[in-house]
């Protein structure tokens, strides 16, 4: 081989290795960055997905489940944060709930990072920023923006088409790593299916009466700014015995509650409601209701980053949501949200919507079905709006400093396995 050619080959390899190193460091940071939150004083117990599906132990799909039990008999609420990690307002809302919750009656169970593995990867080909930052009086904290799917490092390969269990419905191949397409899950299935099964087990074993799934959606998507709830549910016994698919109207209707909640919230922000279709399987608003006795509510906030057709994809676009292209498309009447570029879709607004959206269904469920009453509180949209108007970051305003001495006993590192001693105190 010519010396010149050899030098070029070696140089090319070195350049490639340097590029791999630079990018690799960033990927490593995203994968291994650990967020820390401070749970409210009402925390009574922490469980893990692996308590419900043991094979998840020591996998990147294991994740903590925070339980706040008032000790007073009442309804049980389950809140699922981060089923799609690339919808970060969902995670932030769950974190703010965990940090500020007060429960007077009933029990609240919160999973802040339902797809932990997916939060450790970025959306391929979509150039998502790795992190976004929130400023508080005590400092700036960074949080991950993940993927829609489970990280391929943890679940690989994909099939050529994904067939949802047990409906047998065909979905896109990569949806086998999409937590919100794999419900009700399988105990011995893929990693994502097992996580889905763990969530169903939480709902069934903990006697959950209301289950809330927090998402974000593109404004081109009709179901943005919407509650989705099932008007009918599957006759499980008949299905398991005969395989026949029969839906019936349950005694308690989450769609009724969602309609009421949507109307009530409309004084604060646009919140529509939509009936869960019988023909689309694998989603929480269908399968949680079909495979347990809980009332299900899926919430979508408007997030323009998911719309894909945006300008340069910076962190500011994620946290402020101001985009000229989406304004143009809105002006042509093609979006399902009254988008105004001057206001955008800021993070506080999306988080606030989730917080008030979740609280409203808890309140309204108690109104419709008093036996399910759960009395709890956390920050609301209106409180956050007021703080924003004073010029402060309202998300940061409700976050607690994990390094402050008064918080150290309740600071929890969110990871796929317990980190530090605090977990031991709450794990039975």
């Amino acid at each position: 081989m010519e010396k010149k050619a050899l030098i070029f080959k070696v140089s090319a390899l070195v350049v490639a290795l340097v590029l791999a190193l630079i990018a690799g460091i960033e990927f490593w940071q995203l994968r291994h960055y650990k967020e820390t939150i401070v749970a409210s004083e009402d925390l009574t117990e922490i469980k893990w997905f692996s308590d419900y599906v043991p094979s998840l132990k020591n996998t990147w799909m294991d994740t903590p489940v925070f339980i706040f039990d008032s000790g007073v008999e009442g309804g049980t609420v389950f809140v699922c944060g981060c089923p799609h990690p690339y919808e970060p307002a969902s995670t932030m809302a769950a974190y703010l709930m965990i940090e500020n919750i007060h429960v007077e009656k009933g029990k609240v169970i919160i999973v802040p990072r339902a797809n932990y593995s997916g939060s450790t990867d970025g959306m391929l080909g979509d150039a998502y920023p790795k992190f976004f930052h929130v400023s508080s009086d005590w400092g700036i904290t960074q949080y991950r923006i993940g993927d829609r799917y489970t990280n391929p490092l943890d679940q690989w390969p994909d099939p050529f088409t994904y067939i949802n269990y047990p409906s047998g419905q065909n979905l896109a191949y990569q949806d086998i790593r999409n937590l919100n397409r794999t419900y009700p899950g399988r105990e011995n299935g893929t990693l994502t299916e097992r996580a889905a099964y763990a969530i169903l087990e939480i709902i069934r074993n903990e006697g959950v009466d209301m289950a809330i799934d927090m998402h974000e959606a593109e404004i081109l998507y009709p179901v943005t700014s919407t509650y989705v709830a099932p008007p009918t549910v599957l006759d499980r016994e008949k299905f398991l015995e005969t395989g026949e698919v029969v839906y019936y109207e349950p005694e308690r209707s989450s769609l009724d509650v969602a309609m009421w909640a949507g109307m009530t919230l409309s004084e604060q922000f646009l919140m529509k409601y939509s009936a869960s279709p019988k023909t689309l399987h694998g989603l929480s608003h269908r399968e949680w209701a079909d495979w347990s006795d809980t009332l299900v509510f899926l919430m979508e906030t408007p997030e323009i980053f998911i719309d894909k057709i945006t300008g340069p994809r910076t962190e500011a676009l994620m946290t402020e949501g101001k985009d000229e292209f989406l304004q143009n498309v809105t002006d042509k009447g093609l979006t399902y949200f009254p988008y105004e570029m001057d206001f955008g879709t800021p993070m506080w607004y999306r988080v606030g919507r989730h917080l008030s959206g979740a609280l409203e269904v808890v309140l309204d469920t108690a109104m419709f079905y008093p036996e399910l009453e759960c009395i709890c509180s956390w920050p609301t949209y209106l409180e956050m709006k007021e703080i924003e108007e004073s010029g402060k970051d309202s998300v940061g305003a409700f976050l607690k400093d994990p390094n402050a001495p008064e918080n150290k006993d309740r600071a929890f590192t969110i990871y796929y396995k317990p980190v530090g001693d605090n977990y031991d105190k709450y794990m039975k």
Partner: protein, 435 residues
């Protein structure tokens, strides 16, 4: 500066970088990578908040990593299978037994549809059957150019063919629709377009002398029994069927592993005494053979990432969905395939998803629209910058004339399929009975 102006400038810079490097380096793959790097650097200068571009440039290499592995595995299977003499034996059998030109061409067409229909990738159809089909068409007296057209067009059709159409899958995933109801909506236009292409390619061709043609094939290997020929195909088809009909009874194998298992079966069925070293040689040759395609799909991912990060993707997508409906009908046949050339399957996300939402807003039947778009997008596999299928077809038939001369002949069947796609979009409500 407005975002529109900024991204327009970035788009021009990207195109300039691509054209210049294509002229200078004569490789579409590296030109795509160069265009992506130039775009990323220009984007970072214009919008410093984008941060370190290296991360998303490298991240882009992962977009089509599974597809690259599929290409590699499918090629390994085919080369091991071909080494056993099975492909030559099949070709000989087909030429010996079937005398009617149209029947022979139809069989070749249907065969070509199968690998892409199962994997979603037209290139796999060329890898697996391109050589065989080329030989048979040559025997039928079809010119090299038209042979290339046949292989290329049927590879595109096979990618669109159900059960696995990746464009439809990606669009349904984005629009929260089940991947259900597309079989006839896709299959009927594919059969019509396939029949049209068979007539277009086969018209006027005069088959060569059968004995002379057969004499050109390698001699029959008496040890190559029928089961040795059939078993590798039984393995791959069996695995497909198992995965489709008993998805919860076996673990997820993934297409690459399925092809490698079939490759292993082909190796065990090989009647020749092939040494381990010879197999290593086959693997080495396969890797070299398939590398340009691997480089191509990986580079598209990089370009896709850079275009997304800088907002160029947004400019294209938002402009397209903002057009009046009539203009969309007129332009989709051009814009759709061009975006396919740039984004590969990503076109479903960039253009397909927003268009589905837009048509949904207008109260149109999005299942039919989705199928129609999934027939139009694959046409872009013959367009720059990537032109994956077109290039591969040319390589398979060793077509040495200019790409443009081949493309000119291909345009007619492409327009035929594109027009059917547009007609489906216009007549969406009348076709709802097909699902």
């Amino acid at each position: 500066m407005s975002t529109t102006m900024l991204t327009l400038i970035l788009l021009i810079i990207m195109i300039a970088a691509f054209v210049l490097s294509s002229i200078k380096l004569k490789s579409p793959d590296i030109s795509m990578a160069v265009a992506a790097v130039v775009l990323a650097i220009a984007g970072t200068i214009a919008v410093p908040e984008l941060g370190n571009p290296v991360r998303y440039l490298v991240e882009g290499l992962f977009v089509n990593l599974d597809l690259a592995l599929l290409f590699i595995a499918a090629s390994i299977f085919v080369n091991i299978y071909a080494h056993s003499g099975a492909i030559a034996a099949i070709t000989r059998g087909v030429v010996e037994k079937i005398n009617n030109k149209w029947i022979l061409m139809s069989i070749m067409g249907v065969l070509m549809l199968i690998p892409g229909a199962l994997t979603g990738a037209g290139s796999v159809a060329i890898f697996v059957l391109g050589g065989l089909v080329n030989t048979v068409l040559e025997y039928l007296g079809i010119s090299q150019k038209k042979r290339t057209v046949f292989i290329c067009f049927f590879a595109m059709l096979s990618a669109a063919c159900p059960p696995i159409n990746l464009w439809t899958m990606l669009m349904t995933a984005q629009a929260n629709m089940p991947y259900v109801g597309f079989t006839w909506l896709l299959l009927i236009p594919i059969v019509i377009a396939g029949a049209f292409t068979i007539v277009f390619v086969g018209w006027g061709a005069k088959p060569q002398n059968k004995e002379e043609t057969l004499a050109k094939f390698p001699p029959k290997d008496p040890k190559l029994k029928w089961w040795r020929i059939v078993l590798p195909f039984v393995a791959i088809v069996g695995l497909f069927l198992l995965a489709l009909y008993d998805p919860w009874g076996l673990p997820v194998l993934g297409l690459p592993l399925m092809f490698l298992i079939a490759g292993l079966v082909a190796l065990l069925c090989n009647p020749k005494k092939t040494t381990f070293k010879e197999y290593l040689g086959i693997l080495d040759d396969t890797m070299e053979q398939v590398f340009p395609l691997v480089a191509n799909v990986l580079s598209i991912g990089v370009l896709q990432s850079a275009m997304a990060a800088t907002g160029v993707r947004g400019l294209i997508g938002s402009t397209a969905v903002g057009l009046p409906l009539v203009l969309i009908y007129v332009l989709i046949i051009i814009v759709g395939p061009i975006c396919q050339g740039c984004f590969n399957y990503g076109v479903s996300i960039v253009l397909g998803g927003p268009l589905i939402f837009m048509f949904n807003t207008l109260g149109m039947d999005v299942t039919v629209i989705c199928a129609a778009l999934s027939l139009i997008f694959p046409l872009g596999d013959t367009l720059p910058p990537s032109r994956i299928v077109g290039r591969l077809a040319c390589e398979t038939t060793e077509y040495k004339e200019s790409y443009l001369s081949f493309f000119k002949t291909l345009v007619l069947p492409m327009l035929f399929l594109g027009a059917m796609g547009v007609a489906m979009m216009v007549l969406h409500s009348k076709l709802a009975f097909l699902y």
